[in-house]
Structures are given as C-alpha cells and as structure tokens.
Symmetry: C2
Subunit: 438 residues, 2 copies
C-alpha cells in the first residue's frame, strides 16, 4: 500500500520540502509547454502536479512521460518543492513507473464527467466516480453511515444483521421481488421492520442496522430506487413516539454539528451547512394540511402528502423556523402499515411520523403496536390475513415492551445534503426498472 | 426511552443508594419466600433483584406483583439498597407498572435456553436471545463489525454500498439465487467482489463494505450459511498481496488488543482471549502440505484444504507459534476464481491466501489480476465465456492500479471467537436449505 496519500504528502509539505517523495495515482490532466510536461496526478485524497523537464528529469524518464495518456496509473518520484499551484507544491520528477495504461480511448473525460448525461455517467461509473465532485458524494455517504453507527453505538444500541431473504413481504405482499430459493419462492426484504422489532423484543432493546432494502415498485422518479440502503433504528421502553423523534433529531443534530469534518466534500457541490434549530418543528398532519392551505395547496383530509406538499412544508420550515428539518406527525392510519400504533382516542390517526429534509421525506418512523390483540385487530382492519403474518404475531405473545423506531434513507439524506437532482447520483450502481448493470 | 439501563443504575450505585430508582425489563426469575417475592429483572445490560415485601411494598402493588409471570415486561420503582446479590444491590419495590404479559405459556424457558436443541432455539429466537449467554453472541458480533469500520476508516478507507441485485454471478454463474426482477431473471450477489474492485478502480482506492452475501450451495454443515454477512476490504496501489495480509493482520491485532472492552461477553462463553503473535505465520500451500504430512494427513498436491486440514494447521499454529491465526498463501490456481493474480514464474500457484482462525478459514483474499489481457486469458483458462463477464472486463480498460483485498466472514469470526459449535448460533435468523422463517 502507498506510504502516503497525496493529501498526506501535502499536509507534511514543510517537512518534506526538498526531499524525495513518491506520489501514485491517475493522470488527471496533461499540459505540454515545449519540452516541459506537466502532469496533474490525482488520487483518492487530492491532486498534485508533477513536472517533467529536460535538465531536471532524466532523458529516458522524460521520453516515457511524453508518451503518457490521461487516466494512466503511475507513480512519480522526485523532490517536492513549492510552486504556484493550487496545492502550493509540485514534484520535480526524477522517476516514473507506469502501473496501468488505458487500452481503449476514454468514453468519458474524467474532468468533465459531471457535465455528461446521467445514463452515460452510470454506464461508465468507474470513470465518472474518478471525478472529485462525484467521489465527494460517496465519501459523504460513507461518512454519514459512519456517524450513524458511532452515534447510536454511543447510546448503547447494538448493530444487528437481519435476513434479506424472507418468506413474507413486510406490508401486503405486493411490491416484493420473488427469489427462487431451493425450489421455494421467497422474497427480498422490503425493510428490516419485522426483524428489528423482533430484536428489541428478544431483549436487545436498542438496535440499529445498515443494510440494503428492495422495493419492487415500478417507479420512474428522481427520488426512488429499487434497491437502496436504509439506516434503521428500533428501541424498546419508549414512553411515546416523541422518544423516537428525539433520537432521530439527535442524530441529525450530530450530523449538522460534525459536518465541518467534511466541509470540502460539501464545497465540491456548493452545498450549505445543515440548519437544525434547537427544537425541530413537529407538526401534526392536520396542522400540515392547514399550513399547506395557506400556501394555496389543498390536500384531501386524511390523505398523504405528495412531493409538492413536502416541498412546501420544507419552505415553511425554512421561512418560519430557519430549519432544514420538519417532522410531520400523527399520520393517517389509512396510509400507514398495520404495525403502526393508532391514537387511542382518535384511531383514524397514528403515532407515525415522517421527517422532511429540505422538502423531501428522508425518515419514516413511529411507535409500533406491541399489544397482541390490538395487532391482530390492526391486521383485520387493513384487510390482511392473519395467517400471512403468523410468524410475526408470535413475537408478541411472550412479553413485548412498548417500542418504536425509524428507517432513514441513506441516499436521500446524501442527496438532500448536497442538493443532487436525482437520487441515482447518490447510488454507486443504481438499480431501477431498466438498469441491472454494470 | 429509559433514563438508565440496569448496568447504568449499578454503575452509579453508591450515588443512588437510598434514592428512588426505576428499573424496566423482563421478569427473568421469580422466587417466593412466604409473603416475600423476589423478582430478578433483566434488561439489555444486566440483571437486578426487586423485592416485594409486606410492610415495604404497598399492599396493592404487592398483590399485582404476586400475579406476575416470567417474561412479563415491567417497570419497578423503589429505593436502591445494598444486598448480598451478585449485583451488590437490590430495589425495595414501592411501585410496579406492567407493560406487557405473555398471552401464552412460554415454549422455551429463557434461563435454560442454551440447553434446548438448536432447532427449538431458532424457532423461538425472540425468547432464546433473551438469555444473556445468547445475546452475548450478537453483542460481540456488532462489536466486531464496529471495530472493522473504525479500524479501516482510520486508514482512510471509504465505506461503500454495492448492489446485491446483479446480472451475473461472481464466479461461474452456479450457486446463485435467481431473482425475478421486472420480468427479467437476475441474481443475488455472492459477494461484492466485482464492485469493490470497481470502486478501487473508480478512484476510491481504499474501500470497505459490510453487507449480506448469498450462496446457493446446498450445504448441510455447521460452518456454512446460505446468507451471511461479509466484511470486505479492497485496496489499490499494493506492492504485493503481503500488503493485503498486513491489513488483515492489523485488523485482527486490533480486535485482540481491544477485546478487553467486551470481556464479559467472552466470559459468558468461557472463551479465551485471541492470541495474535507479533507476526502471524504465513505458510505457502506447499509448506502446508508438508506440515500436514507431518501430522499424518496427506493432501493431493495442488488441491484445497479440507476441514480436517484446516483444523490441523490450527493446531500447528498454536503449538509452534502460540498463534490463533495462520495465513495459508499461494493457493493453487485450480481452486481459486479467475480474477486471482497468478504467480508470474509459477502460474499453477496464485497470490491468493486464506486466514485460518483456530483452525477454520475465516478470511479469503489475495491480489487481483488488474491487467486487461491477463484477465481475459484467466477467463479462457477457467473455461468461462468472456461475454458473460464483459461488464466486469470493461472496468480494466481505462487505467486500473494493482489492487487486492479480502472478504471476512463475520459469523465465522464470531463463532471462532466464542467457540460456538454451529455457525447458525452466530446468525440471528439463519437461512439454510430448510429455514426461511421466522
């Protein structure tokens, strides 16, 4: 493995100045000036110019440097010196190792890749992601997942690993992908819902999971994927679903507070820091209808929000509370799954919530029904058959604490953090109705 | 959410002594002594005795306490006092809230669950895991995954999230589960192999992933699962596969060093600390054949190790090097997948390795072939059709650094760490040829 990434060389620039260093990476740009060749080297961490020049560089090395093409993989050795480059330093090249050269012309120019069409970018993703603006998306995504784990681990949550191969869909059996499994038909999990609840009931009490979820909805939108990663939490012994919202809010506050660690990634996209006020507004759905009415948008009483409604509530949160986040609470029973706990006094409404981030739903959560008989009743009222969910009902027969949780869309959070236009940009290799390769 | 877990109450025992505390959890054991009822409460973090006693406990509360059954979920309020219990404290109960009671007799006694048969335990997993010895497995597993991320993040690795829905199997197209995907047949990923390599080639350079992998092999062994979690790394700009082994070794050394953090989990299983010597032995496969011959075990030259061979090498490592770990290197080309780099001078052998932990393979890794023409040649020699892997070959056309990586079986590491007899014990909800529920 490399001794030093380019960023590490630059960070130690003063100490290494005048000394021999080696930088390995891809040839990002080439500029020729007579017998001078400037290569901009790019690695995971940054860029650094290498200068090949008669008199400084041995003739044989210079000749080989002149044959290099963009996106070749090389190691350049030479002395580090100050230079009027963006990085403040350059390498005066003495030696060059060619590790790999393109065998075909590049179908996508790496420095211009963000300007290409999305289908082209996704087709040549291994070139597209070499662009620092694009790799910033995936570095940020990894950072968010890391913060999620760190945050909930510090609150005594245990990471769990639930099956993705399941016998029944989470909600109604629709919108699941069938899998042929040793002669049986089973399904891909739409969410870890049932099993994270089981883990709480099994005494793990506070659990989280980071894993893929699979949705067979034939969407053609910029905000849906058929496979994405969900950040899930589930927690027992809650007093109400406000406990769950407090946990979600605490995580987003942590993200906002620590965002300075990845400032450069946000800057690649000209993205603003996340505004999280002292208390994130919590609006019941019925209050949301009224707010939307003020914005000239009518939503049928008892119905879900559409994308425009979410956007308008985002504007409201920003204008009224200077907040990038807003909870919508007490979702209608009609649009929530059977395992949601309903309000005792108003059973048409539930202890289910969504969190909108800059006008897009990024989290769904709520308190779950933990009472066996109520759960059976919920199933019946949803027109579902008890026998299809019998394995799930079993979990509630032997002592189940009140509990709740949330599922957060990792790609959606990444998208909203950076202001991306299409959720596919936040997925290394998106799967949609048309796309299963590369 | 609870103010304090039981462990947190106990940790602050001195400060809280004589004060009112509340402990919530499951009723682990009940002991009656005349008009005295002792309840042992159990939560995620530990146990604590609550005493219900005439004179101390209000009559109405005492009556309700006398009706409680095991595995009811309760909150007990009362003053904390010193007691000759294992925990050193108990609660003198003043109040009791019943949150949930079993609606049916328990099919599995929680304190005795490890003694039940594995099929019974897996059938009633939400009861089985309530046993502290069993939950210790899953807490340790989550801890290992956390260490993995922490360790590789600190080395500038980026976490990636690759698709589990793929158009082609990783190796030969056999042993994959077919998925019906919008009218097409696709497959579940056997490993993130192709995509973690792509991420390296895409300039992310150092990547890791924690995710499910799916193997359609109809195994009936105690060391195979059809769905498990793999800890994957892949890294560019390596000099040789020794760099990869150094990284793997560094991770296991870190595990061993930090294992004191989870000492109590190991103690539940009477497990020994992990022995990792200053340098983990690295034995070529040909040397391994000779060692095995000394142990009276003949392996056909050029063949893979079988479970007995692995066990014997485990004994050898322990006896000769006081090591729980041993690398076997230079695996035969015949038993390695096409993407493995072969030894230049001896193409029947590869830069592929396994790591055995206490006599069981827990990691497989190696240097990958990054040279486009060599890769095509490898495919041909394996009798595979280039067109089936054309999307993968594309990655290597535009500058691919030398790279390598490893996949580590999370359940196998957990199993070996604790000395479990069956890998199913280390999976919350194992999937095998017979089992897709709960």
């Amino acid at each position: 493995m490399k001794d030093l990434l380019i960023r590490e060389v630059l960070a130690r620039g003063q100490e290494l100045e005048g000394k021999e260093v080696e930088a390995c990476g891809w040839v990002h740009r080439i500029r020729d000036l007579g017998a001078l060749r400037f290569l901009v080297l790019r690695d995971k961490s940054g860029t650094l110019q290498a200068v090949f020049k008669r008199g400084e560089t041995p003739q044989e090395v210079l000749s080989r440097a002149l044959e290099l093409r963009e996106e070749s993989v090389v190691c350049v050795k030479g002395s580090l010196r100050r230079a009027p480059t963006r990085e403040g330093y350059e390498i005066s090249a003495r030696d060059l190792r060619l590790l790999s050269a393109p065998v075909e012309p590049l179908p996508l120019e790496v420095p211009d890749s963000p300007k290409a069409t999305l289908p082209t970018r996704l087709k040549y993703r291994w070139l597209d992601v070499r662009n620092p603006k694009v790799s910033a998306i995936f570095k940020l995504k990894g950072w968010i997942a890391g913060k999620f784990r760190e945050h909930f681990s510090s609150l005594q949550f245990t990471e769990i690993f639930t099956p993705k191969i399941v016998a029944t869909g989470t909600e109604s059996g629709a919108d699941v992908f069938p899998v042929l499994y040793f002669g049986k038909t089973v399904y891909l999990a739409q969410s870890p819902q049932f099993y994270k609840q089981m883990a709480v009931i099994a005494g793990l009490e506070r659990v989280f999971e980071v894993g893929p979820v699979f949705r067979a909805e034939p969407h053609h939108t910029v905000r849906h994927l058929n496979e994405y990663h969900s950040l899930d939490i589930e927690v027992g012994f809650i007093e109400s679903y406000n406990d769950v919202m407090d946990l979600v809010e605490g995580f987003f506050r942590r993200l906002a507070q620590d965002l300075h660690e990845v400032r450069e990634l946000l800057e690649e996209h000209g993205a603003e820091p996340l505004q999280v006020p002292e208390r994130v507004p919590r609006l019941t759905m019925r209050q949301a209808y009224e707010v939307l009415a003020e914005y000239g948008k009518r939503v049928q009483y008892g119905e879900d929000l559409d994308p425009e409604g979410e956007r308008l509530l985002g504007s409201y949160a920003r204008e009224r509370y200077k907040s990038d986040l807003i909870f919508v609470t007490e979702y209608p029973w009609k649009v929530r799954p059977f395992y949601t706990m309903r309000k005792e006094e108003e059973p048409a409404w539930t202890y289910g919530f969504d969190l909108l981030m800059r006008g897009l739903e990024v989290v769904t959560g709520g308190q779950r029904e933990h009472r066996y008989e109520r759960l059976r009743q919920n199933l019946r009222e949803k027109g579902l058959r008890e026998e299809d969910f019998s394995f799930y009902l079993e979990f509630f027969k032997h002592g189940a604490p009140p509990h709740g949780g949330a599922g957060m869309g990792l790609e959606r959070i990444t998208m909203q953090m950076l202001g991306l236009q299409n959720i596919r940009e936040a997925r290394l290799l998106p799967r949609d109705t048309e796309r299963v390769t590369p």
